[in-house]
Amino acid sequence: MEHAHATVQTVSYLWAIIFSPLLGVLFNIFVAPGLGRKAVNFVSPVMILVAFLFSCKAVVELSGLPHGSALLDTLYPWITAGQFHVDLALRVDALSAVMILIVTGVGFLIHVYSVGYMAHDEDVARYFTYLNLFTASMLILVLGENLLLLFVGWEGVGLCSYLLIGFWYTDDEKASAGKKAFIVNRIGDAGFLLGMFLLFWTLVAKNVWTLSFSEIQAHASALATSPGIITTICLLLFVGAIGKSAQFPLYVWLPDAMAGPTPVSALIHAATMVTAGAYMVARLHFLYSMSPTALAVVAGIAAFTAVFAATIALVQTDIKKVLAYSTVSQLGYMFLGIGVGAYAAGIFHLMTHAFFKALLFLGAGSVIHGMSDEQDIRKMGGLLKKMPITGWTFLVGCLAIAGIPGLSGYFSKDLILEEAYAGPHGSSLLYWTGVVGAGMTAFYIFRLFFITFLGENRADHQVAHHIHESSLSMTVPLITLAVLSALGAYFPLLQWLEPVFGELKEGGIPLFIKWLPTVAGVVGVVVAYSMYGVNPKAAESLNEAPTGLRKVLWNKWYVDEIYDAAIVQPFVAMANWFWKFFDTEVIDGIVNGAAYLMEDWAKGIRHWQTGNVQNYAMSFLIGAMAILGLGYYLW
């Protein structure tokens, strides 16, 4: 590939991509309360549409430039300290271009969908404030030209995630789900910060004063002399990615995050924010490529997470919980691609996943909306007839995630698994783990589909009577996403990303290895059909209390309980000790002790106050004489 003519084109409209959602935030806070619901419903999605159009303009301009070029919009110098310099600058290269199109494109569809989904909620202005703010933060994250600006966006999306998970904050459970997400992410962010500090420190030691991605990349070879430090930097940054992208062992916040409104789950907890970790690692791929150890850790954790989360998804009965664990599992696939050095494959899956998982979540939201806020699939069934658009589009999403040939998920997942087998850092263990995960994925998603959409309806009469297909603002995004889920893989994404990541090495894969993931997917679908599709009464077996392995899976491998016993309870006990012993006994003891000491002393000397004026006069006289005597003596 010819890189010699790659240029950096200075442009002056990239700021508008971020500022139009921010304008929506200001509108929703200050103007909307006087205008009402219709204005909010119109302005909020339109602001994202504007951002999308500017993104398209940027991508069109970028595609007109030679391979490997980038657009740069420097707003102003942010930090200048001696030789160290950070600009508030936005940069679009091939990778950022993919991300801004996903964030604004899928984001716009989800905003439109939200108009219908939140139609009965009173607090719609607050909802769209958060959602617009999220979009702006996410765009800062992907457009930031340096690691520091990426971190600003990183924290911004974390905040919005917290705010939206706890959107219905009067419900204690939902409020604490928000807190859990925030706290677990803090652990990851601590790793991110340490990684950034160490990277900065190491670069400064080589007299490179920068955090800009392009400059770090230009000086990356200077770091190659200290492989141990590179590995440490990469692993610390990966801790941040583990938190944000819900990998084992910090994935626990994501299933709980389903407490938020369903479009939020689709936008933040499936399509965009949770992929920020994968984006960050791909953005710093030149560092990871220098450390095979770090890549091996990424791939190992990713493969484990992919299967681990899939096993939990096998038995869940909450429609959103199944999708949440599915997201954790699919994020594992993205990191698997990245971890075997096939960054483009990881980003490819990031994109297709954004389409089909957003579709599945929005479909689930449509179902929940139609079922009067019921999320338990045991009370659903037969919805395909009553909600045909939702049902058929959901089926497209299921086929895509299951890896059925021709649909987007097939191409991206297959590519990842091929690279896991034959890529530069691949191994057959990673491959086989991925294949097992692929089979499970197909099984749990079609189990969900069969139980929810086929068979007899099991809702009670009141709810069943009310079931209806969703409004146009919800079904149009569903149809659009279904088209993208089916055809999304036909964008020439891999060629597009080549200037960033270099060429993917292909070929040399036995036919058997190439088709096995697909076979696993088909087997998963067939098993799901034989268990839940053929027999319409099968879903009722779910009401029985689970036993054996099923019980362990139903309880999510008891991970929450283990964390509770190993971390939360000791922490609470320690906090209680600091409160009930250290604070109330020691600290209060010192303070009260000083007061008691003074009291005892005062009890002794208060008898000097006799109330008899002649005693006082006597002490006055003695005092006066003493002073006079002293004066006489001194003179």
Binding site: H607, Q609, T610, G611, N612, V613, Q614, A617, M618, L621
Partner: protein
């Protein structure tokens, strides 16, 4: 002319008698009279020293002291009168209720 230190010694004797009266007599009326004695002992020092230095300042201050003492006597006797009406006593050692 009588030397100044004679006046000062007399003043000191009168002041000491007054102070002892304030400290050791029980009756507040007598204490009050003793205070007057102390004031006048000081007045004597003032005029004696004023004469010694040929200055009118000391004599001027004596007039102030006499004026203030008159006002103080009026207020003080009124207080003693009220105390007697309420407590049926004017003994200083029995008027010790301003205590812990």
């Amino acid at each position: 002319m009588v030397p100044t230190h004679y006046h000062l010694i007399l003043s000191a004797i009168l002041f000491t008698i007054g102070a002892m009266g304030v400290l050791f007599r029980r009756n507040t009326i007598i204490i009050f009279m003793s205070v007057e004695l102390m004031l006048n002992a000081v007045n004597l020092s003032f005029v004696a020293l004023a004469r010694q230095w040929g200055s009118m300042d000391g004599q001027l201050i004596v007039f102030f002291v006499i004026a203030v003492a008159a006002a103080e006597a009026a207020v003080g006797l009124a207080i003693i009168l009220m105390v007697f009406r309420n407590r049926e006593t004017v003994n200083a050692d029995e008027l010790n209720f301003m205590r812990w």
